[in-house]
């Protein structure tokens, strides 16, 4: 507690304390019970009392000598009153008044802004002004104010070096011995500053900055021990998704491990609660649900790592300088956030230590690497780990109860295989993995009712066509490189794969038919135009991949191919907007339409 003031009579001090308690009660408790037709009743009451307090304090402040030892405290008291006035004004939608009061608050304490008595009010006032300007659609102004709050906090910490602790508003007016934890209050206020900064950076498009502040917010929540474990874990896992898609695999893994640990701990606590009540069931359901979500985040991590490894190797092989010089990033062998930091104009040091030092995460982190894979032997463990997580997630997200999530998991499994295939050299094993993908996707498709899951079904038709095409290409490659030339069996296999690809593309196209008809509508839904035209584009190619001796069939396939290109060109000629969507493909289609009829003629003349 603070000792009684000399400059203010005791009865006035008691009155202030009494008024402060009343205001606290009005704002924190009674205002919640205000009737809808008078929603600000308690706040208006609080305003009156706060204004009285302001008058009392100002009266005694005038007499103070400039070197009076009690000046900081009395200024802090006035600052506290002004802060409360300002916040209340904002609450009752008197925005400009509130702004003025908050500015006054900061002015009053300017001299002592780093004083333990004042710091909390200064930070709060800056936070509030930051919110105000954000709501006025001026995020830059908001950023300035919140940045100042962050700096002020840092200055205070540096200045005090932990010597004296911040004093809570309650203690400021209290004449008793009871002590409120000012330090905790200060830290909470700073956490809010960081959280607001995260949002403002997000609004301004500085995603990495925003992510850094989100991380800091999470870290501080963890340290304050005031958080909902499931929310926290989910947030950490979600943040990992940002890192994992920006080459920050080390950070992503760390955040996932943290999420996992917090969930495991929470599960233990829940398990210790003995009786099975309805409430506990609900809690368990939530835990299982969110654990499955974190599992899926883990799986996405693995998938991203494999995909990133692949594109890295592709890039390297393209960069392969003729003089045999190995680009520097290969020696490094890792993918990091550094590049993003540099392009975001952030010091790479800032992205160095995005960790939760208070958590013991080594064991969880060693389950999977954070380094890109170069060879199959390195890719395989990543694949297996991710597949494990998907299998785990599948236990909650069952087909029976969570159809679309279950299908998404199956799609991810297929993608995992696809990523692994890149590292596999053996054609037969590549084929087998593609077959595995096909089995998974066809199983998913077979179970779904297109009436309810049309978008997913369309996705699956597309993916299946893609997979069949990839598998077909492997077979064709194999046939071409074999010495014995094509066998009837390999030809049959190839035609089968092509036919399947064609079939799935046609399924996709037919799903767009106008109801009750057997043709496409004149105008296609905007968001489906590109997928549809692409389907025709793929079809145009696939029809020409059939290997058949019969000239009639050849002609038919070639005609189908021409029709597919014709559809694209005709649609684009009719709809200007489609032209832009197909800018890369349209030229090719036109050329094909010039050449293929010649080929057709040759064929029919031959």
């Amino acid at each position: 507690m603070e000792s009684p003031l000399k400059n203010i009579p005791m009865d006035v001090q008691l009155e202030l304390q009494d008024k402060f308690e009343k205001v606290s009660k009005l704002l924190n408790e009674e205002s919640k019970l205000d009737p809808p037709n008078n929603p600000y009743r308690s706040k208006y009451k609080a305003q009156t009392i706060l204004n009285e307090m302001k008058t009392l304090i100002t009266y005694h402040m005038d007499d103070l000598a400039s070197d009076d030892a009690e000046r900081p405290r009395i200024h802090a008291m006035l600052g506290s009153v002004l802060l409360n006035l300002g916040v209340t004004s904002l609450d009752v939608e008197e925005l400009s008044t509130g702004e003025e009061q908050l500015n006054n608050c900061i002015d009053t304490m300017e001299e002592f802004r780093l004083h333990p008595l004042c710091i909390i009010f200064v930070l709060n006032a800056l936070n509030q002004l930051g919110i105000l300007w954000s709501e006025r659609d001026d995020p830059k102004r908001s950023l300035e104010l919140l940045g100042l709050a962050e700096q002020t906090y840092k200055d205070f910490k540096a200045d005090q070096q932990g010597a004296s602790k911040a004093v809570s508003p309650y203690d400021l007016f209290s004449t008793s011995d009871k002590k409120d934890d000012g330090e905790e209050n200060l830290e909470k206020t700073h956490t809010l500053t960081l959280y607001y900064l995260a949002q403002v950076y997000g609004t301004l498009g500085h995603t990495l900055k925003s992510a850094l502040y989100c991380h800091n917010t999470l870290r501080r929540q963890l340290e304050s021990k005031e958080f909902d474990p499931i929310d926290w874990a989910l947030n950490s896992a979600t943040l990992s998704q940002f890192f994992a898609t920006h080459n920050g695999f080390k950070e992503a893994r760390h955040h996932l491990a943290a999420a996992q640990l917090i969930l495991d701990r929470h599960k233990e606590t829940l398990d210790q609660q003995e009786e099975s009540t309805e409430e506990k069931d609900a809690k368990l359901e939530r835990l299982n649900h969110r654990s499955a979500d974190v599992s899926r985040c883990w799986a996405k991590y693995g998938l991203n790592l494999l995909q990133m490894s692949q594109s890295r190797l592709v890039r390297l092989s393209n960069e392969d300088a003729p003089d045999g010089r190995i680009p520097p990033c290969v020696e490094d062998g890792s993918l990091t956030l550094r590049n993003l930091a540099v392009s975001s104009l952030i010091s790479p040091d800032e992205v160095e230590n995005l960790t939760f030092p208070s958590l013991e995460l080594d064991v969880l982190e060693t389950c999977v690497t954070d380094k890109p894979a170069n060879v199959f032997e390195e890719a395989r463990p990543i694949f297996l780990n991710a597949k494990d997580w998907l299998d785990k997630a599948k236990q909650y997200y069952t087909m029976e109860n969570h159809a679309s999530d279950a299908v998404e998991i199956m799609q991810d499994t297929s993608r995992l295989y696809q990523s692994l295939i890149f590292f596999e050299d053996d054609e037969d094993r590549q084929s087998k993995m593609h077959k595995r993908r096909i089995d998974i996707l066809e199983e998913a498709l077979g179970q779904l009712n297109p009436q309810f899951y049309l978008p997913i079904c369309r996705q699956l038709w597309f993916e299946l066509a893609e997979t069949y095409t990839e598998m077909f290409e492997i077979k064709r490659q194999k046939m071409r490189s074999s010495d014995e030339g094509p066998t009837p069996h390999s030809l049959h296999k190839i035609n089968q794969l092509v036919a399947k690809g064609v079939q799935h593309l046609n399924n996709f196209i037919q799903s767009l038919y106008a109801k009750g008809t057997k043709s496409l509508p004149e105008v296609i839904q905007e968001e489906l135009v590109r997928p549809l035209l692409l389907a025709f584009f793929y079809l145009g190619k696939l029809y020409r991949e059939f290997i058949v001796p019969d000239r009639e069939v050849q002609l038919r396939n070639l005609n189908n191919s021409i029709d597919a290109y014709k559809f694209i060109v005709t649609y684009c000629d009719k709809h200007e907007s489609a032209k832009n969507l197909m800018s890369a493909e349209l030229g090719i289609c036109r050329e094909m339409l010039e050449l293929l009829p010649l080929k057709l003629r040759r064929l029919s003349e031959a």
Partner: protein
């Protein structure tokens, strides 16, 4: 069709705003909505414009462009109804802060109903219209999502963790244990909606909250069963979701509900919303999994957002300046509403590879197809080729004559000189130059007879026949390379000088004949001689030269003209031919069509005949079958008749026997009676002295005879034995049954009646009816025998079926049942 339609509607000032002296900040113009910023703090007066599918001006009823409920329904609601009948799902959202007119637009007051009642009414109306060949079934559910928990607003209680949201692979997304209520008319719908709204309000008060904090989804599931296009039975199900989204108040800082759907520019104050901030970060990339919080709403509407569904969003706004920021955020949200629709994502990777491959293929094709592959040129060339082919044919035809002449007239030669065509002849000749007739085209060349006369005149038989001359106009005599013109009857001139006597003509001389004809004399031999001698300065040659030039030009021109004429003719002929070909093709097509039709008809007839044949065959078979059966039947009948006769005989015998016995009995009885009388007489005689004992009028033997039936049947049923007295016991039962039915019906009228009691009643009723059947069967069996049972049974069975069905229908309207 655009998958999402967005409409904005502004309401009039409310009393509170009028009291505050509010100013209007909304302007509308066509599809455009403008919000004006009158805020003092901002200092500047700016505005923002938004364009929507509809902007409804419902601010001042007296305005000419005031948008009525009717208009809003016509433009938005009818589409919902239509798509539901077509089998599409539809989704109607209302969005906006509390008091912005959402309820007015969606529900409306009874005297000016909003979208929901109008949509329902239109749906039930349409069902009535189309009921003929179709069956409809509509059920209703109503739920709210509060803090990600789903509550059934039409159930009496909800589990504390909320209902679970599930997605079945075949049946789509659903809420497990959510109640569904069968409805038959709009009143019923309204009733349920009101009930749900009440539940929503109470719950909100308990939680110390306002209703706008939760999303509410009212769902009509609409099933149509009927015969499809090919006469096959088909059933379609469509859902109409009517969604009241959580409001956009600033107070909504703690709940994450609706956060994802909302404008993210403003700072969330509470750390509870950290998740949505992080989600927004991660969501920007594909390939990541973002377990966002607001899943339930989007999840439940999955089958309505995206895919083949109609989505309409109505954003309700207040016109007043005091609501500026809320209104702005509503407009911004509405502006982005299209983003809530799921869009298919397409993997672009294979595309890049494919494009590369196709480029290679194109390159290869070009090589393969060689020079031809100047693509456009080639196509044109092909066309030209075809054209040229026919052109050549035409020309060949046309020129055959000419060529014949050229061949025949060996002296003639045709050659090209630059652009001109030169007709060469090595013999002296005349070339006609029709100076006066500007319209004449073509060049005529007359060879002169070698060493002899060439007669020129109009008369037939002249060597050179020219119209408009005298019959024997003149003679040109060629002898030893010298040509002499001798006029006969007509006017002649040489090089412009009239001559009446023979005059020599030389190379290049112009000969005038009559009024119209001018001929030029050419002697190649002389010309060659002249060229050799270099005599170019002679008068005649000067003149001749120039005329010669002229003549040549004329020749050229005329050749050109002839060519053009031929070309025109060719074009014309070609056109005609084309026309002809088209006509022919047309006729052929028609003929083919007719042939096809006739074939079809024939086929049809053939089929019909075949069918008939088959039918006849069948019939004949049937007939034979029948005949066989008749024969069989006759045989059995005869058999039976025989047996009947036998039986008759037996019966007759038996009857006789009985008759005999009866007679015997009668005799015996009478004898006994008489004996008895005698005995009684003697007894009474004896008793007369001792007083009365025992029944006065019955005797012992009579007693024993009537005792037996009385113990076998109870008094009232005893009558049925006679076959007349069915009335009494049956009626009692029937009465009981009727009473029981009455009881059930009253129970059904009573909403609160519990299911068990009802079931008891029904069971009892069935029991009674069974008894009735038993009784009647028995009675029937008693006096009619077996065959009569059937109709009776059917008659009795009917009522319980209808009652049961009735009970089910009414029942499911009030009770819970899960999908």
């Amino acid at each position: 069709m655009a998958s999402v339609k967005v409409a904005v509607r502004v309401r009039p000032f409310n009393q509170r705003e009028l009291d505050m002296g509010a100013k209007a900040v909304i302007r509308m113009d066509g599809k455009k909505t403008r919000i004006v910023n009158l805020s003092k703090t901002a200092g500047d007066v700016g505005f923002k414009d938004f364009t929507f599918d509809h902007s409804y001006w419902s601010f001042e009823p007296s305005d000419p462009d005031f948008a009525t409920q009717e208009q809003v329904f016509e433009e938005l609601g009818t589409e919902v109804v239509a798509s539901a009948f077509e089998g599409y799902n539809a989704c109607l959202f209302a969005y906006g802060q509390t008091g912005s007119g959402k309820t007015f637009t969606m529900t409306g007051p009874p005297d000016d109903p909003g979208l929901i009642p109008r949509i329902c009414e239109a749906m039930f109306g349409k069902m009535q219209e189309e009921q003929e060949d179709k069956n409809y079934r509509v059920d209703v559910s109503y739920l709210e999502i509060y803090n990600e928990k789903v509550r059934d607003l039409l159930a009496s209680s909800n589990p504390s963790g909320g209902l679970r949201v599930r997605e079945h692979p075949r049946q789509g997304p659903y809420v497990s244990d959510l109640s569904h209520h069968l409805v038959t008319c709009y009143d019923h719908v309204a009733q349920l909606m009101e009930r749900g709204n009440r539940a929503r309000c109470t719950a909100a008060t308990n939680m110390n909250d306002t209703s706008s904090r939760s999303h509410a989804i009212f769902t009509l599931t609409f099933r149509q069963a009927g015969l499809g296009a090919e006469g096959l039975p088909c059933e379609t199900t469509s859902k109409v979701h009517l969604v009241d989204l959580a409001g956009s108040e600033r107070a909504d800082a703690t709940g994450a509900t609706g956060q994802r759907l909302k404008e993210g520019a403003h700072i969330n104050k509470s750390l509870v919303t950290l998740g949505s901030v992080i989600s927004a970060l991660a969501e920007k990339r594909v390939g990541s999994f973002v377990p966002y919080r607001d899943a339930v709403l989007t999840w439940l509407l999955k089958d309505s957002l995206g895919g083949n569904s109609k989505t309409i969003m109505v954003a309700a706004i207040s016109p007043a300046d005091c609501n500026y920021s809320e209104t702005l955020s509503t407009l911004r949200y509405a502006n982005r509403a299209k983003n809530i629709v799921n869009q298919p994502t397409v993997n672009e990777d294979p595309n890049v590879r494919l494009i590369r491959e196709l480029r290679e293929e194109i390159y290869k094709l070009r090589g393969l197809l060689g020079e031809e592959t100047q693509p456009k040129v080639l196509a044109e060339l092909q066309q030209k080729e075809a054209k040229e082919k026919s052109l050549t044919a035409e020309w060949a035809e046309k020129w055959r004559e000419t060529q014949a002449i050229l061949r025949e007239q060996q002296a003639l030669g045709l050659r090209k000189a630059g652009r001109g065509v030169v007709l060469d002849s090595d013999r002296p000749h005349l070339v006609a130059i029709d100076q006066d007739d500007r319209l004449s085209t073509g060049v005529t060349l007359y060879h002169l007879n070698r060493n002899g006369d060439t007669v020129i005149g109009a008369a037939e038989g002249s060597d050179i026949v020219l119209p408009g001359l005298e019959p024997h106009h003149c003679i040109v005599t060629l002898k030893d390379g010298i040509a002499v013109l001798t006029p006969k009857n007509g006017y002649c001139s040489v090089d412009g000088l009239a001559t009446e006597t023979s005059s020599r003509i030389s190379q290049g001389s112009l000969i005038g004949l009559g009024r119209a004809h001018v001929l030029r004399y050419n002697d190649p031999a002389e010309a060659a001689q002249l060229r050799k001698e270099g005599r170019v300065m002679s008068r005649s040659s000067l003149f001749g030269g120039s005329t010669s030039d002229l003549n040549l030009n004329v020749e050229e021109r005329e050749l050109e003209t002839e060519r053009r004429r031929l070309a025109r003719e060719y074009e014309e002929r070609k056109r005609q031919l084309d026309e002809e070909r088209r006509r022919l093709e047309e006729r052929q097509r028609e003929a083919e069509e007719q042939l096809r039709l006739r074939e079809e008809k024939l086929e049809e007839q053939r089929r019909r005949i075949e069918n008939k044949k088959e039918e006849e065959l069948e019939k004949r078979e049937e007939l034979q079958e029948l005949e066989k059966r008749v024969v069989e039947r006759l045989a059995t009948l005869q058999e039976r008749q025989k047996r009947v006769a036998e039986l008759d005989a037996q019966l007759e015998a038996a009857r006789e026997e009985v008759e005999t016995a009866r007679l015997a009995l009668k005799e015996r009885t009478e004898a006994e009676l008489q004996a008895m009388h005698k005995r009684r007489a003697s007894l009474s005689l004896a008793l007369n002295g001792r007083g009365r004992l025992g029944p006065p009028s019955s005797d012992d033997s009579f007693h024993t005879a009537t005792d037996q039936p009385q113990t076998l049947w109870p008094p009232d049923s005893a009558l049925s034995d006679s076959g007349l007295g069915l009335a009494s016991p049956g009626e009692a039962l029937a009465r009981k049954v009727a009473q029981q039915k009455e009881k059930i019906l009253t129970a059904l009228e009573d909403e609160n009646c519990d299911k068990e009691a009802l079931n008891d009643h029904i069971a009892h009723l069935q029991e009674l009816q069974r008894e009735q059947i038993r009784l009647e069967t028995k009675m029937n069996g008693n006096f009619k025998g077996g065959p009569a049972r059937r109709p009776l049974e059917a008659e009795v069975d009917e009522p319980p079926i209808t009652v049961r069905a009735n009970a089910f229908r009414r029942h499911s309207a009030f009770e819970l049942s899960s999908p």
